[in-house]
Assembly symmetry: C2
Homo-oligomer: 427 residues x 2
Amino acid sequence: MNACDESVVSASERAGEPAHPSTATRADAPPSASNGRGLDRWLLLRLRAALGNPDIDFAVRDSARITCTAAPVASVTFASRATLLSILTDPWVRFGDAYSAGDVQIDGDLVWLLEAVYRAGGMGTKCASLFRRALALRHRNTLSGSRDNIHHHYDIGNEFYALWLGKTMAYTCAYYATPEATLDQAQIAKMDHVCRKLRLKPGESVVEAGCGWGVFALHMARHYGVRVRAFNISHEQIAYARERAAREGLARQVEYVEDDYRSITGEYDAFVSIGMLEHVGVKNYETLGRIAHGCMGSHGRGLIHSIGRNRPARLQPWIEKRIFPGAHPPALSEMAHIFEPWELSILDVENLRLHYAQTLRQWLANYEAASERVRAMFDEKFVRMWRLYLAGSAAAFSTGTLQLFQVLFAPRGNNDIAWTRSHLYTP
Amino acid sequence: MNACDESVVSASERAGEPAHPSTATRADAPPSASNGRGLDRWLLLRLRAALGNPDIDFAVRDSARITCTAAPVASVTFASRATLLSILTDPWVRFGDAYSAGDVQIDGDLVWLLEAVYRAGGMGTKCASLFRRALALRHRNTLSGSRDNIHHHYDIGNEFYALWLGKTMAYTCAYYATPEATLDQAQIAKMDHVCRKLRLKPGESVVEAGCGWGVFALHMARHYGVRVRAFNISHEQIAYARERAAREGLARQVEYVEDDYRSITGEYDAFVSIGMLEHVGVKNYETLGRIAHGCMGSHGRGLIHSIGRNRPARLQPWIEKRIFPGAHPPALSEMAHIFEPWELSILDVENLRLHYAQTLRQWLANYEAASERVRAMFDEKFVRMWRLYLAGSAAAFSTGTLQLFQVLFAPRGNNDIAWTRSHLYTP
């Protein structure tokens, strides 16, 4: 139910200003510019309508306010009319920038607010399409383009990530066997879930495409007795991973290679990639499939874990611009370009989006607890930017705007596959 | 390893005839027509090469024979050169017709033979493509076209199917919790597996698109306390289903509707379709998705169980021509046309192809045990035709030429979904 219709707004006016029947009942007619509050109010109504009328109160500081009779999930106050006007011209990008700059104040839970926006489902595709061409040109995932894009996000400091990712330094969706599990427990459970899906056996070899800080490779080596070659083009992550492998006495079992997945050679029992596909680009999916297929023998198994979509769509433009240049969460029909050209059989797809919502909530809580240290490392704008990114991602997964797919696959005709999936659920 | 190269054939010649170095070493040069055995031998080599050189012995009755040094999985004898020539012009269709007519004799296990052919992987796409246009025109799944296509297969007599499908009359892939389960146990386990995936609760309502002989609808009503409306356009199947529901006292809980899935209206807690999608046609997938999406509320769940492919390809042309007109097993990228236009979220995909190979092996064994009765109902040609269809299908699933997908889905943003899949594996 959405109680935020315009007549209600008029009746529930809080600011004590005189009612403006012309704007309250016919919001398409802008008031004259000399009527400051009336104009702000009209702009707020336009914004709310563009957002699909979520249950949110909106205001311009020291000026107009529009409210809901339903309990609003949160309220948003813009610093000035200029801020509001700027956001109206390009809401998906400029809201994020204005929030980061401190020109938007949120009262209430930021995740709930963003969930309400996603559920209301206004705008979306139309605004996103404006950015499609420009972004596609700017952030191509060529070999050097990928390096730039990855450097932008992953090389901003291991110390920063260590503040909120937890002990595992796993920067991907965790798996909560029960909703009560802690973040660290759930990250370890995710690693075991993937290893069980791949049915890793001692003595086998695994190649990992995109290994983050390398902790999953260590986990496979330590707990499943496999040898791992793990690829990553983030210099900072590889340095961390090598140091940690040496410290934990696993350097002989795990080799970290600072190189692109396109450089993988050799044959392995399993191919695994957790949270890299988002950075690969659909144009390169066939190549990724060729590499996965080519490096596993006829009895090989593969698993790709990636953020995804219900249908093809661009990443939220502000996230793409400020946080993840070159990233794209694919629909399963897009992921098919990895598998179909090589006749790879899809054995199992699991959608873990609610687990990613929970993971992000826990990262956000850790992040907030460490916000003073983040501010000391960077600045207030950075603190707010990353808060918005984490909260927005939590909201996108909890509302089903984003999905999380784990796709298990094998070469055509490999019958050395699990008879059922019950082994995933028997300790 | 494939030991069936031509020099080996020459050395292992069994028929006692003089060696023909010209054909043994240069198989592309046909011998003169007056040299009968030499010509037959050359034709057999051509056929075997076209099939990708499977480990199979081939012969023309009372004439030439080509053999393998490797233990052949089976041997194939053609009644005459005319039979062999006919098959060479169009192997994928005419082999089936010649086998049905009794002009091809198989020594050895028919499933193993066909597995060897599928694994060798010759021909395939090229031959299949010849039929694509003609078949696409002939067997369209319009409302009346679907009726004709379904009548062709499903209305040939319930008594016939009862001979080999087992007590459940389920004519779709079973689910063997362990490989030792019986066919009936596995069919019941399949029904429970689907009900658990859908998380059916007493008092809920379910619509079933394509209900076969109606036994799954009865199972849902009896064991999960739900009301079911089940659609099917096969007159014979609906008649059987209604009679059985009345006999089992479930006629008030289960309504069978003799109508097309495109006529489904109303709102339900769950949408389910087992083994109908193969008959829907890719062009109608968006319509199927609209109906599934439209008939479930925001908390609905859906499941589609279908034969599938690793990548888009036509059904084996003889099966399509003689057994399943209008049928098409889709790749997941084709199934995406059901889900993506309506933003349905794919929650879980399970590939059960080895379970279908086992199901078909058990159907085939039942069928062979009842072959005298089948012969009395129809004729010898029918007996052989259906034997080939069942054996060929078993081989297609065991070699990964066909897949079996169960796809669980829900409307975007439905958070009333299972937290993990562990409930499927706890009795």
